[in-house]
């Protein structure tokens, strides 16, 4: 055998800091750092992976419209009540970061006002002290009303807010910039759109180090391989020196996995579907995984710890 082959990568993925402690002007108990890899997933012999992939528990501001009963019963009484749901995740499941989806703001799912949602965020920030990811409802017009109010309510807490898309990013970028948050840039399984959107966002003055890419994923058996390869290609471009691609990835694992027919076919199978979707994407370079079932989260966390703990030895 010849000498060990080491790739000479040109740059590392940027490190995004989510959450601000008192020292940073916020009220979170800790900061979650994501990204920073200077090599491909878990090749510790070749570069450093200073921050472990993190798992964010996904919550909703209402009883979510499309979650199966298996998930509802996993959370019990707090399900659909964001404050007690959040507290359960932090206290019972030791969540280090939460992802709140403001589905209730959607015109079809309750049409909550910007004021209501901003009020919820203020209350949530008081209730739990972990860093937050906050997602709009997906209706562009409504999100452009709600998310600025939400950003302001969480001013200085350095949340991760989403999502900016190619034809609707300006309002969100301006708010995120004004209130000191990070942003999620969504690009539908397309490297060029990801690049372009990152450039557009950074042109408005938000640093690339404040951007997390949502490459949009498919679940195991439902187009997982597209996301897998797009993430590998993007990460290779980043390591090879493309600054506009050197952002961490966020993957909505729970959302996609629980849509799969197999996940709903029989009890327990959704958990494995969510777990294996996460496993594959962790190996493709995912930095933040937004997940739903506590057991799937636990197993994925153990896996990540095992990957990181041994430090490649």
């Amino acid at each position: 055998m010849a000498e060990v082959i080491l790739e000479k990568w040109q740059q590392a993925v940027s490190t995004v800091n989510i959450g601000a402690t008192r020292a940073d002007g916020g009220s979170r108990s800790h900061v979650v750092k994501v990204g920073g890899e200077s090599t491909l997933p878990f090749l510790f012999s070749e570069g450093s992976l200073p921050n472990r992939p993190v798992i964010a528990f996904e919550l909703c501001d209402i009883v979510p419209a499309d979650w199966p009963q298996e998930l509802a019963s996993a959370y019990g009484a707090g399900f659909g009540d964001p404050l007690s749901w959040a507290q359960k995740c932090v206290k019972e499941y030791q969540a280090k970061i939460l992802c709140l989806r403001l589905q209730g703001a959607h015109p079809d799912f309750g049409n909550k006002s910007a004021e209501e949602e901003a009020g919820l965020i203020s209350a949530l920030l008081k209730k739990v002290d972990v860093p937050l990811i906050i997602l709009g409802c997906g209706d562009d017009a409504k999100d452009n009303l709600v998310l600025p109010a939400v950003c302001q309510a969480a001013k200085g807490e350095r949340c991760l807010i989403g999502e900016a898309v190619q034809d609707n990013y300006k309002t969100l970028v301006a708010s995120v910039l004004a209130d000191g948050h990070n942003i999620i840039a969504q690009s539908p399984i397309d490297i060029n759109i990801a690049k372009q959107l990152n450039i557009l966002i950074s042109d408005m003055g938000l640093a690339l180090e404040k951007i997390v890419i949502n490459p949009t994923i498919g679940a195991l058996g439902y187009g997982l391989e597209y996301a897998y390869s797009i993430m590998e290609r993007s990460r290779l471009a980043a390591l090879a020196g493309d600054k506009t691609m050197a952002c961490p990835f966020i993957a909505y694992v729970g959302q996609e996995a629980w849509r799969a027919k197999e996940a709903r076919a029989e009890a327990g199978q959704g958990i494995i579907w969510e777990m294996l979707t996460a496993t594959a994407l962790i190996q493709a370079g995912a930095d933040i995984l937004v997940m739903r079932h506590p057991l799937a989260v636990e197993k994925a966390n153990n896996y990540i710890e095992e990957l990181m703990r041994t430090n490649g030895v």
Binding site: F44, G221, E225, Q269, L276, Y303
Partner: protein
């Protein structure tokens, strides 16, 4: 790794004798690089040069075959580090370890359950590959367990034992089945090589580190054993990923022959979730064979689905033949739905139409394997294309009412499609999961 024309030229006599039919040795070298002529045309090639040239034309990772007939497993022949660079060629084999210490009835029951691990997804059969019998006690018991396996499954077999006295009688039993022997190591190399040759079996060779493994593989190859599968001893997951990555890099980038074989990983993990997660990791990261103990259907289904995803050709998405498909007892009163010919889309729609119990027709339009939105954006799922499909498949002759249900995501096509096709257009649900209630309330 393939040599360039200039690399080959350096190995030629450079006499320009023209006996090969080319004017110069350089021209001959260029033809060789393009593989358009055989090296035998040069009568003056030195044996060393010939060997180098022959080796350069071998695939960088050897194709190894196990088992026979329908249950043949081929692994190896991989050519890239990342699937987007070309594709991964030979799907990783998934096998199950059965301890010979189990009672006969338990072994039989496990084998029966393993035999049932067959699934179908998006029109492809998903099968497991191997039953691996592991020795825990005496040679006699091992032979009995192997006999049970041979009699009760057609899957390829692996013999897990380093006891030469146990392996030989077991091999005698299954010599026609091209089994896998697990495993040769430093201290039994010569004996294992002899057995592998005698019984034409593939051989796993194990070492604690890559460097040592490379040495052992080289020695075996020198002894004429070339159907090898490589295994690094027990390590942490990340360390294994590094070794598997490094092994493939060495084979592909440096043409290191002694590492140019498929690799095998034994997952030794009691918790079935963690076992599945680890197996999934190695399926994604270059393993040729993964052996686990768990035989739950959900484990096999999820792992085989992952394997299907990872080994799908990125340039050729799975697609079905564009056509008009009848679901259930479809007749002239049945509704007609249209979708793309991307397998995942088509089979998802098909599954929901079947679940609705409403007999219907599904048209799959030739979108070159793209999904609904992608095809729409790429102009492969347009009013013209859909109209063309309606005419081509003679849909009008099948139904009395010319009413077409289109996917909710392409509602925007409605007006134009109505004009072009003359059919009444009905906008269906955005997600296939909405089809059953949509059809029932039609």
């Amino acid at each position: 790794m393939a040599l360039s024309g200039l690399d080959i030229y350096k190995l030629l006599p450079k006499t320009n004798c023209r006996e090969c039919g080319f004017v110069t040795c350089l021209a001959f070298a260029m033809a060789l690089a393009k593989k358009s002529i055989s090296i035998d045309k040069c009568p003056y090639l030195t044996p060393e040069a010939k060997k180098a040239l022959e080796e350069s034309s071998l695939p960088p990772i050897k194709l190894v075959t196990l088992g026979t007939g329908e249950n043949k497993l081929e692994v190896g022949n991989e050519s890239v580090m990342f699937r987007h660079e070309e594709k991964f060629h030979h799907p990783c084999g998934l096998g199950f370890i059965i301890e010979d210490s189990l009672k006969d009835a338990e072994i039989k029951e496990r084998l029966e359950r393993i035999n049932k691990l067959k699934f179908e997804r998006v029109g492809q059969a998903l099968n497991v590959s191997l039953a691996a019998i592991r020795q825990n006690g005496e040679a006699k018991r091992f032979r009995e367990a192997v006999k049970l396996a041979a009699d009760n499954t057609n899957l390829a077999l692996a013999l897990m034992s380093s006891d030469l006295a146990a392996i030989r009688p077991a091999l005698e039993l299954i010599k026609e089945r091209r089994p896998l022997i697990y495993s040769a190591a430093k201290d039994n190399l010569a004996e294992m090589a002899k057995l592998a040759k005698e019984f034409k079996a593939a051989l796993v060779v194990s070492a604690p580190e890559l460097e040592a493994l490379s040495g052992l593989a080289k020695e075996l190859s020198n002894q004429g054993v070339n159907d090898l599968i490589l295994e690094i001893g027990k390590k942490s997951i990340s360390a294994r990923i590094w070794d598997l990555t490094q092994q493939r890099r060495q084979a592909l980038k440096k043409s290191i022959r002694s590492l140019g074989y498929p690799s095998l990983v034994v997952v030794d993990e009691k918790d079935p979730y963690e076992e599945t997660i680890q197996a999934a990791t190695y399926i994604s990261k270059y393993a040729g064979i993964v052996l686990i103990k768990g035989i739950e259907p959900w484990q096999a289904l999820s792992l085989l689905t992952l394997r299907q995803n990872i080994y799908t050709d990125p340039q050729k998405p799975l697609q079905i033949e564009p056509n008009l498909y009848a679901v259930g007892q479809a007749n002239e009163k049945s509704p007609v739905l249209v979708t793309t010919n991307f397998s995942l889309t088509y089979y998802t729609v098909l599954g929901e139409v079947e679940a609705s119990k409403v007999p219907a027709y599904v048209i799959s339009v030739d979108t070159e394997g793209m999904s609904v939105l992608t095809a729409w954006a790429a102009e492969k799922f347009t009013p013209e294309k859909i109209t063309e499909a309606l005419n081509k498949f003679g849909v009008k002759d099948k139904v009395s009412r010319t009413r077409l249900i289109i996917p909710g995501y392409v509602a925007v096509l409605s007006g134009d499609l109505e004009d072009k096709s003359g059919w009444q257009i009905l906008v269906g649900p955005k997600e296939a999961s909405g089809i059953p209630s949509f059809l029932k309330n039609l």
